[in-house]
């Protein structure tokens, strides 16, 4: 059965890289069963397994801005990214996965929305995020909730 997925990406041992996972944790248990909440530190082709048989997917991840101070949470739709992935020689990301699934006749989600949270240190081993990044978790969770609620029929809320 097609379903909706909230997918938190990151590594909770690598300081700020945990932020996608922490936001996903905040969203567990608040939506009806049609909305699954997963988190993973897998990447590359492993993400394909998560996307199969999904109607809509919200990906929550981090990004490293040139300057952390003043950077904001970003939202975009994968469609807005264009076909960059299909022409990249780099390893597998969401863009390539979309093209692979289309090429292999596998149904790619109708909508993939991306919520990207700025981080400053995703390379130091630690279970503790930077205070400034931790402070963004609630705002990111609120925005994620709003995005997913817009996908649901009113009766499901």
């Amino acid at each position: 059965m097609k379903s909706m997925l909230i997918l938190g990406l990151g590594n909770d041992m690598l300081k700020d890289d945990a932020v996608g996972i922490r936001v996903a944790e905040k969203l567990r248990g608040i939506f009806p069963p049609a909305v699954e909440v997963h988190s993973t530190s897998c990447f590359g082709l492993s993400l394909l397994d998560e996307l199969i048989d999904r109607e809509k997917v919200l990906v929550i991840d981090s990004y490293v801005p040139e300057e952390f101070v003043g950077s904001e949470i970003q939202e975009c739709n994968l469609d807005a990214v264009g076909e960059a992935g299909s022409t990249s020689p780099h390893f597998v990301g969401l863009g390539e996965i979309r093209e692979i699934m289309r090429k292999l006749g596998l149904a790619f989600p109708h909508e993939v929305h991306i919520l990207a949270i700025p981080v400053s240190d995703p390379i130091t081993f630690s279970y503790e995020m930077s205070p400034a990044v931790a402070a963004l978790v609630d705002e990111a969770a609120t925005r994620a909730r709003r995005i997913v609620e817009a996908w649901l029929p009113v009766a499901a809320l």
Partner: protein
């Protein structure tokens, strides 16, 4: 004017990396550097944590080699607690490990290394990617690769929990037995795995070995280094991924030494360079003589080709046939051609699948006694396995309560670091000059020099929106940007 070319990040690697190529005043390469990113503070992070957590913690260092770290850590815990797992636990571990190796090697062959050979090193860059591979081998083959990979990962999860969060290895055994009801699933999947691996050898034969240009590239001098080779072998000196002794052969193929995990510090030392975060291991008894090959240099290699070179053969019949074919084709042992790693990887896929089938079919594999409870006080533990990318050492020391006081890991990509640096430098000197600095094909062939090793920088990168740009910068030696472009 002297120039610097930067390829950052390196394409299709698991994690970021960077190459810098310095051109001298005459436009020739004076030196090419292969650099890896830094992950900070692992040793401090684990100090004070219970040693039993190490199979879970280390498997999450990155999303690439979780099972390899999990297994090396589990074996180190066996040693730490001085406990010998029951025979069926060792078989289950080796079976899971064979499944993992088969899946990982397939991923590299088709999707990471594949674009170099299946599509072609000088193919248009828009085609030199996973989609290009699918276009070349066909949609049905693409579906088969994706399907096989998912089936193998599901089997690992069935017995060991999530691949990235395994709950399988414990000191003295494993967490749960295989049920008789599940055994047929494993046997049938293993049969499909053998067919898949043999099919992949046919693909390699048709696409690569029947293409003279590719074979010439494999055997060309710029992709050749005469170094030492290291790999885990069983009691008959045959390749083994899970257990055995570490064997080292010299550049002529003669046995140089054999050691156990406990003895790794007697055999390996590490050299530090100011331009790289990675330490460069070398053979202690030969010594560090710089980034040079030959019998007088302690530089050695790990990974598929090194494993085959360090062994006397394969422990399963179809893999042995393929092993003999490789050496008959490439002029006998040892083979020093870096790009032959791709061929060796396919041979190891066959071995992994055959070994998976052997173990899944073993009548003892459903024995419920899967653990010997440890009773000794922990002190020091060391474990070694062959990760897909090469030999992987884990070393822990604890207090009497089993809390980590020291941890040291030597991962496969570290073991290969010096030889990879040699490879990048040699190919860059052969192909790059001021006239070819814009040549995408030439730069890709520099990257091929290390991609054959299947290096993993383990930074757990998961890029959004789906691909990372390649930035190439050409600078003079004073750091002034002369030209910049992306691909």
């Amino acid at each position: 004017m002297a120039q610097r070319i930067t390829i950052d990040p390196i394409t299709r690697l698991e994690g970021h990396g960077k190459i810098e190529i310095f051109l001298d005043d005459s436009g020739k390469v004076s030196r090419a550097y292969f650099m890896v990113p830094e992950l900070r503070g692992f040793e401090q992070f684990v100090v004070g944590r219970p040693a039993e957590e190490m199979p879970q913690i280390t498997s999450r260092i990155c999303g690439v080699c979780p099972t390899a770290h999990h297994m090396a850590a589990t074996k180190a815990l066996d040693d730490l607690y001085k406990v010998d797992p029951p025979p069926v636990a060792k078989k289950l571990r080796e079976m899971i490990y064979s499944i993992f190796t088969l899946e990982d090697h397939a991923l590299h062959f088709y999707f990471l290394g594949g674009p170099d050979f299946v599509v072609g090193p000088k193919a248009p860059k828009a085609e030199r990617n996973i989609l290009g591979v699918i276009g070349k081998v066909g949609v049905e083959v693409g579906k088969r690769v994706i399907g096989m990979r998912k089936e193998l990962r599901d089997l690992i999860s069935l017995l060991g929990g999530k691949v990235i969060h395994p709950v399988f290895g414990l000191p003295g055994g494993v967490s749960k037995p295989m049920t008789p009801a599940d055994q047929p699933k494993f046997i049938e999947a293993a049969k499909r795995g053998v067919d898949f691996a043999l099919f992949t050898l046919n693909v390699f034969t048709d696409v690569v070995l029947k293409n003279k240009e590719y074979v010439d590239a494999i055997t060309s001098d710029m992709y050749t280094h005469k170094t030492y080779y290291m790999g885990l072998v069983d009691g008959k000196n045959r390749v083994n991924f899970y257990d055995g002794r570490v064997r080292v052969v010299d550049p002529t193929g003669k046995e140089f030494g054999v050691f156990t995990a406990r003895e790794y510090l007697d055999s390996i030392a590490e050299h530090v360079e100011p331009w790289s975060y990675i330490k460069f291991p070398y053979l202690k008894k030969v010594g560090w003589k710089g980034f040079v090959d030959g019998a007088d240099s302690g530089v050695y290699a790990v990974a598929p080709l090194a494993r085959l070179n360090a062994a006397d053969g394969m422990a399963t019949p179809r893999a042995q046939e393929a092993y003999e074919q490789l050496y008959a084709t490439l002029g006998g042992k040892p083979v020093h051609h870096t790009l032959a790693n791709h061929w060796a990887r396919v041979i190891e896929m066959i071995f992994a699948a055959e070994r998976f089938l052997e173990l899944a079919s073993d009548p003892e594999i459903t024995d419920p006694k899967v653990r010997t409870l440890p009773t000794e006080i922990p002190t020091v533990g060391m474990g070694v396995v062959e990760a897909p990318r090469g030999t992987l050492f884990h070393h822990y020391e604890t207090d009497e309560a089993g809390l980590i006081t020291k941890a040291n890991l030597i991962v496969a990509t570290q073991n290969n670091a010096a030889r990879m640096a040699l490879s990048v430098d040699k190919v860059a000197k052969a192909l790059i000059n001021s006239a070819t600095a814009n040549d995408d094909g030439a730069l890709n062939m520099v990257e091929m020099a290390f991609r054959a090793y299947d290096p993993c920088h383990g930074c757990g990168t998961h890029s959004l929106p789906g691909s990372m740009p390649i930035r190439i910068q050409i600078r003079d030696l004073a750091g002034n940007l002369i030209r910049e472009f992306s691909r």
